[in-house]
Symmetry: C2
């Protein structure tokens, strides 16, 4: 086997690893769209579903005659953003106290905003989002140096051992979830200051460079992640310093050493796509080196969009109320649904 | 409607335009895998299929019981690369003389190598590949200048009015199909010399920057294209000069003017993905500007791989010959198939 083939196998295996749900998980199991206000915002696996069934006043679990597919709908009678958030949070706090899901043991009192078509529908404890397969968005900064002798070198961070997720693992120089109320570049600038103390005069050189999308599954749940990526060339003498206690070390690696680090179990799996994309965009992983290059590039940009397009029946029920009646036998919350159909979004009880 | 929303619509509409087959065509029509030596190498639409039915000695058109899907198989009795190439070419020359397909009127006596898993299976007249939905690979060079006052500027070429495809349209500075026997970067260097007279001392700065994949359909047929992209920063005083008669003009545009040009009908639709990808990677189209940014990035890297995974029954028939017999009623070349099953790949007649 030539060295090229070895390289191929490792990169492709890695791309398949952070897309384990996209490539196989999705097809294997009973997975249901999670629908809020007529919009699909997530995907729910059967191991989560069986616990949600205990809360029929919050979740309407039913089969759709049209698509022959089950769906989980947040009670459409909940009036607004706040009520949806509160009702869901009650369930999440219950599930957490029952210690049913490892994901919820990482509860951090930090909210993630669940949106559809740019409209915020509710906010959800960040640790719970993998249970609902909610699409997550983050920013990542590739901090790099053009070294006079070593060529392109890349700054990596080692996550603090006290972090809830991936403690002690190697990661991109700067990364974080999109914060409510902040723009994408604005979040990148904020994270650059907090995580690596990058001053204004350097962060002004930030270059937006696209995004990567992948669909990973772990014991914690589902990670349909999109990371907006930024590149930042840093001066040779700059050394990142952590300011928020979430990083225990920074290290500058050559492009070659960086590739090796990404392959180790010490690297956060869900941060690998950003590094691979960076090395591809900067000519350090090329189509002449890697036979399955196009497949790897495709796996850095999987069409998550296509997994979140469930046409809910809620909208149809508004136009054709009679349409729902035949389906009520499949619903564990027929009473709620009936009220919803008769009175629009009136709150039941 | 805000200017951001206007921008969104135009970019998304364009991305949907060069993915018209991926997004809708594929689901609309009767489309069959084209199988050579047990490997799917293409997709064939019914308007092409009906003419291939006249050549049962070359094409085995049958239904697969397992997948409930029809397939078109190049006669598995053809012994090797040369025989497959000759037999297919005979049909193509016939079809050309009958003037059935606009695509074949662009016949150019230039071969494209049809491969699967890096193995060359046959070569096919380049003009015919859209009829068979064969995956096409090309290289493109984004030639750019960092102008002291205008910022990033991009060189575009205007195709010659005598070109068979997209005559007179605006296009990337350098582009071309992968040539048999040439590496990917090697092809880029060759095309850079032929199309734009870029000398060795400049072309050495070529940076591999990934690839774009999309699936376009036109009157000519199907275009499942993957373009390997290279970036090349050029000095301010360099002006590209065509050397092969295939270009009538070059023009240097600011990033902003370049975006506008791409939206016009004067721009070659299938070259737009390369320009959009370049502008995204260099921070000139950002997630803060365009609401559907992630969707657009996904449409620059569609998973063509997933449309070419038909598990042919040929391989199964080798392991379980009895498996084929029940299916022979669906085949228009049962005689060939029987010989093939009984005697392996022995040539019939």
């Amino acid at each position: 086997m030539s060295s090229t083939e070895v390289k191929l196998s490792r990169l492709l295996i890695l791309a398949q690893k952070f897309n384990n749900f996209y490539l196989s998980g999705f097809h294997k199991c009973d997975i249901r769209p999670f629908v809020v206000e007529g919009q699909q915002v997530g995907l729910i696996k059967s191991d989560v579903l069986k616990h949600l069934e205990k809360y029929p006043e919050v979740f309407c679990i039913r089969a759709c005659e049209q698509t022959k597919q089950g769906l989980v709908e947040l009670n459409p009678a909940f009036r607004d953003y706040n009520e949806r958030t509160e009702q869901l949070e009650k369930v999440l706090r219950n599930l957490r106290s029952e210690e049913l899901f490892p994901a919820l043991q990482g509860w951090r009192d930090e909210y993630f905003e669940v949106k559809a078509d740019c409209r915020a529908l509710l906010k959800m404890e960040r640790a719970a989002t993998p249970l609902f397969g909610v699409r997550k968005y983050g920013v990542d900064i590739n901090g790099y140096v053009m070294h006079p002798t070593l060529g392109l070198c890349i700054w990596l961070q080692q996550r603090s051992n006290t972090k809830e997720t991936w403690p002690g693992k190697w990661d991109n120089m700067v990364g974080g979830g999109l914060s409510v109320g902040f723009g994408i570049k604005e979040t990148a600038i904020k994270e650059a200051a907090e995580e690596a103390s990058i001053p204004c005069d350097l962060v002004k050189n930030l270059v937006s460079a696209g995004c990567v999308s992948f669909y990973f599954e772990s014991r914690q749940g589902l990670f349909p992640n999109t990371e907006y990526v930024f590149d930042l060339e840093l001066p040779l003498d700059f050394v990142p310093q952590n300011a928020d206690g979430e990083v225990q070390a920074f290290e500058l690696l050559t492009a070659k050493d960086c590739v090796e680090r990404v392959f180790t179990s010490d690297f956060k799996t869900t941060s690998a796509p950003v590094v691979i994309d960076f090395l591809i965009r900067h000519g350090h992983i090329t189509a002449d080196d890697v036979v399955d290059f196009t497949q790897i590039v495709e796996l850095l940009h999987v069409p998550l969009q296509s997994l979140y397009t469930y046409k809910t029946r809620l909208e149809q029920s508004k136009k054709q109320p009679q349409f729902l009646q035949g389906d009520s036998k499949n619903c564990n919350c027929a009473k709620l649904q009936k009220i919803s159909v008769e009175n629009g979004h009136k709150k039941p009880n």
